[in-house]
Amino acid sequence: MKVRDLAALSPGAEWVVVGLPDEPIAGAYTSDMLSDVLAHAPPGGVLITIQAHRNTVAVAMHRGLRAIVLAHHRPVPRDMAEAAQAEGIAILRAPADQYTLSWRLHEHLRDEGVVR
């Protein structure tokens, strides 16, 4: 699965920052507590969260994440989009909730053997 394929996770999902669409996804993490993300998110992975602000990009950058998927179609402040743009981190807004996004992404990554 590549970054560009994330849009298929939820009907109505929209790209805010496309990032590096052809990069492969190496895993995923779901959390709304950024200190937890900072400690546990897998490098090369995707973060599913509702935390739509620039600090999320800082944490994603530090963990080497490829994409942030914002649940509940949370609006993205401009400074968050700009920071993600500068770092090549994709941002997708999706109407689905964190649970739904997580299991759908898990199905894809499991089928590809990326996660168990």
Binding site: S35, A52, R54, N55, V59, M61, A86
Partner: protein, 265 residues
């Protein structure tokens, strides 16, 4: 008879903005130097202004000097990000107390470096707008300090404990905890959209509600303030003024609050 020192006539009614960011905050505009902020506050009729950068107080000395030149009454401190990832103002009347507190807070940040090209610059400046240092760790991170511990430490160090923008959808008591826990806040800051009459968070009478600018850009200075009647500008007196305001707001919820002006972008 009351003594002149404690009589109501010795109280001065002043306009307070207790929440301003300088260029040192990664999200603050570079033209927000302490000298610029002091001059702008003064020009816009703010009498008392508190510098509260994210998780540091290192621009406090410059703000102290610039405020002296502008005849502005300064307060100093930081806007701390707690372990719950919510924002709390910690304010002091002494720049050295603020500096020491700020160093303690900074020591509780994770070791995430600031990448200026993506996250913004973090310059420490002097009162002549010269950059004297830059802060290496990203100041937008959350500390490992739980809200209750932080509040106790602020009070122990003689500061004011004020949760920021409690009604905001990010980084607030309501966004992170879903409610306003009953803690000994000196006041609670509400955002420009909060209606103190409807008071959906039921703050009225429990704590003084205050409004501030939370200015990160020049156009936001003056967009939020609170009127307080004080006899001096010590932390103890401001705390007492907050208590008086809370009593007044029980009957007149708008008392002391500046107009509901959304900040300029």
């Amino acid at each position: 008879m009351t003594s002149p020192a404690s009589s109501p006539t010795s109280l001065r009614r002043l306009r307070f903005d207790l929440h301003l960011h300088s260029c040192l905050s990664p999200c603050g505009a570079l033209d927000m130097s302490p000298a610029f902020i002091a001059a702008r506050c003064r020009r816009l009729g703010i009498h008392v202004a508190a510098l509260a950068d994210h998780n540091t107080a290192r621009n406090a000395p410059a703000f102290a000097e610039a405020s002296r030149e502008q005849h502005l009454h300064p307060l100093f401190g930081a806007e701390v990000t707690t372990a719950e990832e919510l924002h709390v103002l910690a304010l002091f009347d002494d720049p050295n107390a603020a500096l020491a507190f700020g160093e303690w807070v900074y020591g509780r940040l994770p070791l995430v470096p600031c990448r200026p090209e993506a996250m913004g610059d973090q310059p420490v400046v002097n009162a002549r707008d010269e950059i004297v240092d830059t802060v290496p760790l990203y100041l937008g991170s959350a500390t490992d300090l739980p809200l209750t511990d932080l509040g106790a430490e602020i009070r122990r160090r003689g500061g004011l404990f004020i949760p920021s923008h409690v009604d905001r959808p990010v980084h607030s008591l309501t966004s992170q905890l879903g409610r306003i826990p009953d803690l000994p806040y000196d006041a609670v800051e509400v955002g420009p959209a909060y209606d103190p009459v409807a008071d959906p968070l039921r703050l009225r009478g429990r704590w003084a509600m205050i409004r501030s600018s939370d200015a990160h850009h020049p156009g936001q200075i003056g967009c939020g303030w609170t009127l307080l009647s004080v006899s001096d500008l010590s932390v103890a007196e401001i705390r007492a003024a907050f208590r008086r305001l809370a009593v007044v707001q029980r009957r007149s919820p708008q008392a002391g609050l500046g107009p509901r002006i959304p900040p300029l972008r």
